[in-house]
Amino acid sequence: MELIHPTNTELYALVLHDAPFVIAAYGLLWLMFCGYVTFILVRLVKTDKQIALLEDAVAKKG
């Protein structure tokens, strides 16, 4: 594999008309994934904290 395939140099010599859309699509894709994963992680941490609290309460009771 060459570093840049010859067909690409031809293509980039032309106007980069569609580039913003492609890059935005890739960006949005990962923004969405990251957002969703962060959302899950935040909820997980919250639940973990609650579990720790309640387990303490159970230990005191018992």
Partner: protein, 253 residues
């Protein structure tokens, strides 16, 4: 559980690296591809002229349009394929639930549908931007887009159905049955661009160049890794919630 989360995070990072590598490879090493579109006249290779805006000649090759949008193939298609695959796994878990009647299969099926819905949304977002770039419109009622949209609605309907049944066992059974029926749309949506005239490109076909295949496979593996990580994270969360409920019950008793 902590271990599960660690593995998931590592998988997401790896998936991110792989897909990003594929993204850059698609711009540098991958050759510019022709789009195969199945039209009324049979299978034709439309060389960048689905939406010609200007004729440009470079190095003796005529391009109808500088079609950078073609590079979306290296992440849009892997995400879409992953969404099909994960939904198929959800349907398999649904079948297993109906056979074995174990709650864990129902949970797995539900989590898989959820992961699949996330991937479907991702496909929709990337796809909509691509249609805007190369067809000049945000949306078109075209066979592939329509059937894929229906698939998304079916996944939403799956959760609406779940929320409206209160009995746990009945909810699980209904959801499994609906999941299997809804899955029938997957092969329809996948095959439709290959069977009937459609303006959606069919790029992935036999005889693809190695320079195209390498980034595509890298992105595919990356996306599947991300899918599995999302699924695992949700499973870990579900476990934590269950434990919380159990402790609460213990405390109240």
């Amino acid at each position: 559980m902590k271990r599960q989360i660690q593995v998931a995070v590592v998988l997401i990072v790896l998936g991110g690296l792989l897909t990003t590598a594929a993204f850059f490879m698609s711009f540098y090493t991958a050759s510019v591809q022709r789009f195969g579109t199945y039209t009324a006249e049979g299978h034709v290779d439309t060389v960048f002229d689905i939406a010609p805006s200007s004729e440009q000649v470079a190095g003796g090759v005529t391009y109808g349009r500088p079609w950078l949008a073609q590079k979306i193939f290296y992440f849009h298609v892997p995400v879409a394929l992953a969404s099909f695959l994960v939904f198929t796994i959800a349907a398999i878990f649904a079948v297993m639930f109906l056979i074995k009647k174990k709650k864990s299969y129902d949970t797995r099926s539900r989590l898989a549908v959820e992961t699949s819905l996330i991937f479907t949304l991702a496909t929709m977002i990337t796809g909509i931007l691509w249609t805007r770039a190369s067809w000049g419109v945000w949306w078109e009622w075209e066979p592939r887009l329509t059937t894929y949209f229906i698939l998304m609605i079916l996944m939403v309907a799956y959760f609406v159905l779940r929320n409206s049944v209160s009995d746990e066992e009945r909810r699980a059974t209904y959801a499994a049955v609906f999941c299997i029926i809804a899955w029938i749309d997957v092969p329809i949506s996948f095959m439709i661009t290959r069977l009937i005239p459609s303006s959606h490109p069919v790029v992935f076909q036999p005889g693809m160049d190695v320079t195209n295949l390498v980034p595509f496979i890298a992105a595919m593996i990356g996306m599947l890794g991300v899918g599995y990580a999302v699924y695992m994270l949700r499973a870990a969360e579900e476990n934590a919630e269950e434990r919380l409920d159990m402790i609460r019950e213990k405390l109240e008793a």
